[in-house]
């Protein structure tokens, strides 16, 4: 497999100004030096708690805002620093599915208008009729009848809107999709349907997906590999199964232990974290997780740990090799979970 997208030391910092002409008094380090490779055809899950910078990372990857520093390589081509126009050819290769299905569709546009909009700028040669046909086909692909094409967003449920959002992303036939918490605004029953839709379009269209979520069960269901983010940095990357069965970073361990267990009467050790996440305005020195880590030592404060290989395809940014961490008992693949229960 080849690398489709790669980030090198990607940073997205936001200065905080006080007043009109105030000097930046502080900097929010939303994304603080991320090195990540996304292989062609894989689904990479990106998990982390709120404020960990995972959505910002996704948006920066889409070049919705210029990164503060670092590189985004798409197929080896640098995207950072490109102008609006210079990015245009890449816009049709990467698309985004948004979290909130109520704000991601323009309430004053019909489904047809929303879906054909991307084609106006990427295939201007198409006639209105051809655009409409494409839109209708894509609508069917995401499981909605083509007759719904002339309706307005308010006539749909959350799950249906999310399908329309997915359809819009598919209109330009992208290779790469960033899905930013695409199911967290949905009911659990609808979540499963939308996740299955993601799996099926990924199969049929050979998509590469960055799936941003805070829900480990969701990630276990859909991702091939998982990256865990904390305070703007990647703590651990591993194949999904390896991450769930043998976490190598204390933060991952804590996340896994906090996830609800789908087995009746299942008991396990819960590792409670101390306190709130530190402010991204002033992250701790050294390892950013050390202030809440149960295994922290004096040298954790010294230098920022780098991601080190800890198994096949398994990287962790923890300096301690001596820890035996508690695995997440629930591996979210349903077949596995069932086996364990019986």
């Amino acid at each position: 497999m080849s690398t489709l997208i790669e980030t090198i030391d990607l940073k997205q910092h936001y200065p905080i100004r006080q007043g009109l002409l105030g000097r930046p008094s502080a900097t929010v380090r939303a994304v603080d030096g991320i090195n990540l490779r996304i292989q062609r055809g894989e689904v990479l899950g990106l998990v982390g708690e709120s404020g960990s910078g995972k959505s910002t990372f996704g948006r920066t990857l889409m070049m919705m805002e210029q990164p503060t520093s670092g590189s985004v390589l798409y197929n080896g081509v640098e995207l950072a620093g490109r102008s609006h126009t210079a990015l245009h050819p890449y816009r049709r290769r990467m698309q985004m599915v948004f979290q909130d299905p109520f704000s991601s569709l323009n309430p004053r546009m019909t489904v047809e208008d929303s879906l054909t909009m991307p084609l106006r700028f990427h295939q201007p040669a198409l006639s209105a009729r051809q655009r409409r046909d494409e839109a209708a086909e894509t609508l069917e692909r995401v499981g909605l009848p083509r007759s719904m094409i002339s309706r307005y967003p308010h006539e749909f449920s959350g799950g249906q809107r999310q399908r329309i959002g997915i359809a819009r992303a598919l209109m330009v036939k992208p290779e790469f999709i960033v899905a930013d918490e695409p199911v967290s605004a949905l009911d659990v029953s609808v979540q499963a349907q939308v996740l299955n839709l993601f799996s099926s379009i990924r199969e049929t269209l050979g998509l590469t997906i960055l799936f941003v979520t805070h829900d480990l069960a969701v990630v276990g269901h859909i991702a091939d590999r998982v990256a865990v983010m904390y305070l703007g940095q990647v703590m651990e990357i591993a194949p999904t199964r390896a991450l769930f069965t043998s976490p190598r970073h204390p933060y991952t361990e804590t996340l896994l232990s906090a996830a609800p267990q789908p087995a009746v009467g299942a008991r396990r050790q819960r590792i409670a974290m101390k306190g709130e996440p530190p402010s991204p305005l002033a992250p701790p020195s050294g390892c950013v997780f050390r202030t809440r880590c149960a295994h922290a030592q004096a040298e954790c404060a010294v230098a920022r740990p780098v991601l080190r290989p800890r198994g096949p395809g398994h990287l962790s940014a923890c300096i301690r090799d001596d820890l035996s961490l508690v695995p997440g008992v629930a591996e979210a693949r349903p077949d596995q979970a069932r086996k364990r229960m019986s």
Binding site: R59, F121, H122, S150, G165
Partner: protein, 293 residues
């Protein structure tokens, strides 16, 4: 879920559909205002054809006729000109000036508001400071100064009013657009490489059209009033061209002997201004996003 209307009746600006129109119709004062404006407009533009005199015809034998003397329904002025005829043709000018000034100031305000709200950053700071600067001028004096230096014609008066009354629209639009720009559908449009003008015009503008319409309605009322001010003070529409404002100006020295000279155009101004304000109120209630699902 709301009932699904027949696709044939859909418009791009879905705002004009169904519940909002009904809500407006239930607003009694707004409906009265709307009917009054329709009546006034029809009277001003078609009334002159029904009258035996035109607005410049001087009948010195019939000077100062009170209303309802002979065929002078509303009486005559100090030169014996028919007041009804003058009122109507003055109305044509006053309403046209008011309406055109509204269109212009809404255009200016909308463009500036959309650009400031959409781009944010320095363009927002720069443009909104210009708005503040214009707002901190006492606009009456600004208008009088401008009117004193420029040749007063209806076009010039319209321009002057437009230039001094766009700021409120700009502020409203800027705030609304800022809210819409942060929503994901704008991001989605940006992500497919839609040009800025398209996002502003096609994605965002239809979503802020409600507040713009309300502000525009209230601006007509203000523009009519402003035109009356300047003309009353003698810097506006110049006689013999009549306007509601300069009819009032002519009337002031005869207030005790011929009060109808002031009452007639006064009532017309009051009717027009209050009607537009009522329509504005009604539209505000009907188009308020929270009031109708």
């Amino acid at each position: 879920m709301t009932a699904i209307p027949d696709p044939a009746t859909r418009t791009r600006f879905a705002i004009f559909r169904g519940p909002r129109v009904r809500k407006f119709m239930r607003h009694r004062l707004a409906m009265i205002g709307l009917l009054t404006i329709i009546f006034l407009t029809l009277a001003c533009f078609f009334g002159p054809y029904l009258l035996p005199y035109d607005e410049l015809y001087i009948d010195l034998r019939a000077r100062f006729s009170p209303p309802l003397t002979g065929s002078h329904i509303l009486g005559t002025d100090p030169l014996g000109r028919d007041i009804a005829a003058r009122l109507f043709s003055a109305g044509q000018i006053s309403l046209t000036v008011g309406f055109t000034a509204m269109v212009l100031s809404t255009l200016i305000g909308t463009v500036i508001g959309v650009v400031a709200g959409y781009f944010g950053g320095w363009s927002r700071i720069g443009l909104m400071r210009i708005v503040d600067a214009f707002l901190s001028f006492p606009s009456i004096f600004l208008m009088l100064t401008l009117a004193a230096f420029l040749k007063p014609s209806p076009t010039m008066i319209t321009l002057i009013i437009a230039v001094t009354s766009w700021m409120e629209v700009a502020r409203i639009v800027e705030a609304e657009v800022r809210g819409q720009s942060s929503r994901d559908f704008t991001a989605a449009a940006r992500m497919v490489g839609a040009p800025h003008w398209w996002i502003m015009g096609r994605e965002i503008l239809p979503n802020v059209i409600g507040p713009i319409i309300v502000a525009a309605t209230l601006t007509v009322a203000r523009a009519i009033l402003l035109e009356a001010y300047i003309s009353f003070l003698g810097y506006g529409i110049q006689p013999p061209l009549p306007s509601w404002g300069n009819m009032l100006n002519n009337a002031q020295q005869y207030l005790d002997s011929a009060p109808w000279l002031a009452i007639v155009p006064g009532v017309a101004i009051t009717l027009a201004v209050t009607s537009f304000n009522f329509i504005g109120d009604g539209l505000r209630d009907a188009l308020d996003a929270r009031s109708v699902q």
